[in-house]
């Protein structure tokens, strides 16, 4: 052994080979780690690109400028200007006449029908009806109106309906393409910012559908959830951290809170259905009930956030307060809680952001109704933004996919803003001891 050649066993060929293999393995292992990160990031990027790629087009919409003659003979033959009669009048006829005057050489039935399909039928008639209803003096006058085109024309101009597909398999006929091209060339059809998407409510027609009612429903449900979950969550956390005696019962409460945080959200929906709707008889589809269910889901999150914020406050604060004669409750409420507030707020905002994206429990309590009015109170039937996304995603047409993606973009923007505010608050207000 002692008089081995200068080469040690670590330098032998076999050892060197082994070392090379081990080093290659090391590199492979590290490489797998990088690949895993890249895969996850690619998935995120793919998701965002696919949603943004379909969604951005819903933020603009083509609309058509038309000159309509509000014929007295059509709208108000009796000349009584009776509001009810005016509301029921045949506005379809008015729009059709305006189109026939624009393209006088269309005479056959099919052509006329196709021509009418260039504009959004209910969009145009409702627009004129509203104007006349508000101001009956308009009857007999000539108006210039801007109304959405039908969703097919909109999709054609956005390039989603391809022109080189054979006519039978295309939703827009060659003749319609001809009219549309002429209108575009004359500047009568233009792409404009899609205001309807933000001010409109749910609709059967994609060109008239908007997220206003869903946003209002979400906002109300979230307010209810916050009003309930925040005080209860903070109260429970303060009790458990500061006042609770250490016994079996408080242990049991803690286990409960940890478990609640992991219960599937749909189970909370079942609870809401059985207890809030069937047992307590609260109204179905209402943001009030939605908010109550979301509150039950988020308050464990708020408790956990509050407790960690309370623990981060230095004990010397409480000791100082106690030593100058404050009672325990005064020490906590006057000194500890204010210092923990940034952490509590951050946690609550993140909890609320989670609640905003929840869909399943809201399906259980009936917030899937087709709602065409903006809810005005928490007991009105309403949809919520994620539920609206779910409802729209069911329709296969391209125009709906576009609006679904756009609604997702709005939802994500709100979520990013909420989380951004939370991070900002944390970095700005949090103190370290």
């Amino acid at each position: 052994m002692a008089n081995q050649p200068s080469q040690s066993i670590h330098q032998s060929d076999r050892a060197l080979k082994r070392l090379k293999k081990r080093k290659a393995k090391e590199i492979r292992f590290k490489f797998f780690g990088i690949v895993a990160i890249i895969l996850a990031m690619t998935a995120l990027a793919w998701l965002l690109v696919s949603v943004i790629g379909t969604g951005y087009k819903a933020f603009y919409q083509h609309s058509i400028t038309m000159t309509v003659v509000l014929e007295e003979t059509t709208l108000d033959p009796t000349n009584a200007r009776d509001p009810d009669a005016l509301r029921q009048a045949n506005y379809r006829r008015i729009i059709q006449e305006a189109l026939y005057t624009r393209f006088p050489d269309v005479s056959d039935r099919k052509g006329k029908r196709d021509l009418f399909r260039v504009v959004s039928a209910s969009g145009a008639t409702n627009h004129v009806r509203q104007m006349v209803y508000k101001n009956p003096d308009l009857v007999g006058q000539t108006l210039t109106i801007v109304v959405p085109t039908s969703d097919d024309v909109d999709q054609l101009l956005k390039g989603n309906i391809l022109r080189d597909v054979p006519e039978q398999r295309r939703k827009v006929s060659d003749q319609q393409i001809g009219w549309v091209d002429e209108l575009v060339a004359n500047g009568e059809i233009k792409a404009r910012f899609n205001v309807i998407f933000f001010t409109g409510t749910d609709s059967r027609d994609p060109e008239l559908a908007g997220i206003a009612s869903a946003l209002a429903g979400s906002a109300m449900a979230l307010l209810v959830a916050f009003a309930l979950a925040f005080p209860i969550g903070v109260g429970a956390a303060v009790y458990l951290d500061e006042f609770a005696p250490k016994n079996k019962f408080t242990d049991f409460i803690e286990i409960n809170i940890n478990n609640l945080a992991a219960v599937p959200s749909i189970v909370f929906g079942l609870l809401g259905l059985a207890v809030f709707l069937n047992f307590m008889g609260l109204p179905r589809s209402a943001p009030l009930v939605g908010g109550m269910v979301l509150a039950l889901m988020t308050f464990p999150t708020i408790i956990i956030a509050t407790r960690s914020a309370l623990r981060a406050v230095s004990p010397s604060i409480r000791d100082g307060a106690l030593s100058v004669g404050a009672s325990h409750i005064q020490a906590v409420f006057h000194h500890k809680l204010p210092l923990a507030a940034p952490g509590i707020l951050t946690g609550s905002i993140i909890g609320m952001a989670q609640a905003l994206g929840e869909t399943a429990p809201l399906l259980m309590i009936g917030m899937v109704a087709f709602v065409t009015e903006i809810p005005t109170s928490v007991t009105d039937p309403a949809a919520a933004l994620p539920v609206q996304i779910f409802l729209w995603s069911d329709s296969p047409e391209r125009a709906w996919a576009e609006r679904t993606s756009a609604a997702i973009l709005v939802l994500l923007t709100v979520l990013i803003t909420m989380n951004g505010i939370a991070i900002f608050l944390r970095s700005r207000l949090e103190k370290r001891w």
Binding site: E26, I37, I257, V267, T359, S393, A401
Partner: protein, 415 residues
């Protein structure tokens, strides 16, 4: 109704505030007499607390009367409801009476603060009891409705039957068609989707955790970790839409190019998107447990000449295994309870298969399918949803408890 409740609540708030300010003023005046005559006697409680005591008692009285009024009005039958203005009057009068009576109590030795603090303490206790009540509510409502379901369908058929077609239960006129509630195909579908999700998420999540804790520089970690966590913040309905609109068709196109047909809604599409959703879950939990392995173990391994990857796979991983298993169990529980992705991308018809390229249905999908749309609450069809919910709750609860126990045991090992 809403208007009435709102105005009563406003009235109660006003009464409470008035009582508070009145009590504080009276206490201040009486305190001033004390300090003025130089006897050196002091109040036990600050005027503030006397005010709070008076306000609290007024609010309590008002709420009791309000609740009593609601209770009487809610009694069915006679129809002689108490008119709102009468309730309002009763609230106002009794609050004033209680306040005036309490005014006598404002003295130097009256321990108003004690009472107020006792009240605050009880209120805080009540807040934490709500957590228990919620759990109790979940268990009772699921159990109660499930028992009603099992009165009509045997529990044995539910847990072992191979046929799931709840829709036929609606057609009562058809003899012999009572619907079949064998839930095995649903459990199998749930398991299949979960397995696909874990198959995607476990290796990726684990490798990310290992890379971030052992290889990444502090800067890379600071960028990559929050970026991965974005995946956890995306709402599930967005993942569902992504699975339906993008991943499903991609899987189908890919399979078609290989020469076999796959529906757009399939276990693989839903499962893989769900896997993406759980990646941050697994990676951050495993990251924690890997970091909890003491550095001395690593140092010992390096001292023996092991490379980083050898240390990782043979020493750290072995040490962290219980914690990682706990993390995986939590991820499984999460995957089983996930709803929107499968509702949108997995399919609705029960299908007993082990092939991930087919459409399957899951427990959560069936709950949604059974409970959305028109429902009569006593039919076995809607009650079946609660039985499924009970199964879901029990399974996730058991998984969570086991996982938490495993993780806790593991933590203690290195403390």
């Amino acid at each position: 109704m809403g208007n009435y409740t709102a105005s009563i609540i406003a009235l109660i708030a006003i009464v409470t505030a008035l009582a508070y300010f009145y009590g504080r003023r009276v206490a201040r005046k009486r305190l001033a007499v004390f300090t003025g005559n130089g006897t050196g006697k002091r109040f036990h409680s600050q005027p503030n607390y006397h005010g709070l005591f008076l306000g609290g008692s007024a609010a309590f009285t008002a709420l009791v009367i309000f609740a009593a009024g609601m209770f009487v009005n809610a009694q069915p039958g006679d129809g002689a409801a108490i008119p709102p203005h009468l309730v309002a009057m009763a609230i106002a009068l009794s609050a004033v009476a209680v306040t005036l009576m309490n005014t006598r109590l404002i003295r130097s030795d009256f321990r108003a603060r004690r009472y107020v603090e006792f009240f605050i303490n009880s209120a805080l206790l009540l807040c934490s009891v709500i957590a228990v009540l919620t759990t109790l509510g979940i268990v009772l409502s699921l159990l109660f409705e499930s028992l009603r379901f099992f009165e009509q369908v045997s529990i044995f058929e539910f847990l072992t039957g191979l046929q799931w077609s709840p829709q036929t239960a609606l057609r009562e006129d058809q003899a012999g068609q009572s619907g079949s509630f064998g839930a095995i195909p649903i459990f199998a579908g749930t398991f299949l989707v979960m397995a696909v999700a874990i198959f995607v998420a476990a290796p990726i999540g684990l490798m990310i955790a290992i890379y971030l804790s052992e290889y990444a520089t502090k800067r890379t970690r600071g960028i990559v970790k929050p970026a991965i966590e974005i995946l956890a913040g995306v709402p599930t309905v967005v993942y569902g839409f992504f699975a339906l609109l993008t991943v499903g068709p991609t899987v189908r196109a890919f399979a078609e190019s290989l020469g076999f047909a796959v529906p757009t809604q399939s276990a693989i599409a839903a499962g893989s998107v769900m896997g993406i959703m759980i990646i941050p879950f697994i990676s951050s939990l495993s990251d924690d447990v890997i970091n909890a392995v003491p550095q001395t173990l690593r140092d010992g391994s390096y001292a023996l000449g092991a490379t980083k990857s050898e240390t990782m796979t043979k020493v750290v991983f072995a040490g962290a295994l219980p914690g990682i298993i706990g993390a995986l169990l939590l991820a499984v529980s999460r995957a089983i309870g996930e709803t929107m992705i499968v509702v949108m991308a997995a399919g609705r018809a029960a299908n007993l298969t082990g092939n991930p390229f087919e459409a399957v249905t899951t427990v959560t999908v069936q709950i949604v399918a059974l409970l959305t749309g028109d429902q009569e609450f006593d039919s076995p069809k809607t009650l079946a949803a609660f039985a499924l919910g009970l199964v879901l709750f029990v399974i996730t609860l058991v998984l969570n408890v086991i996982a938490l126990l495993v993780v806790r045991k593991y933590r203690e090992r290195y403390e």
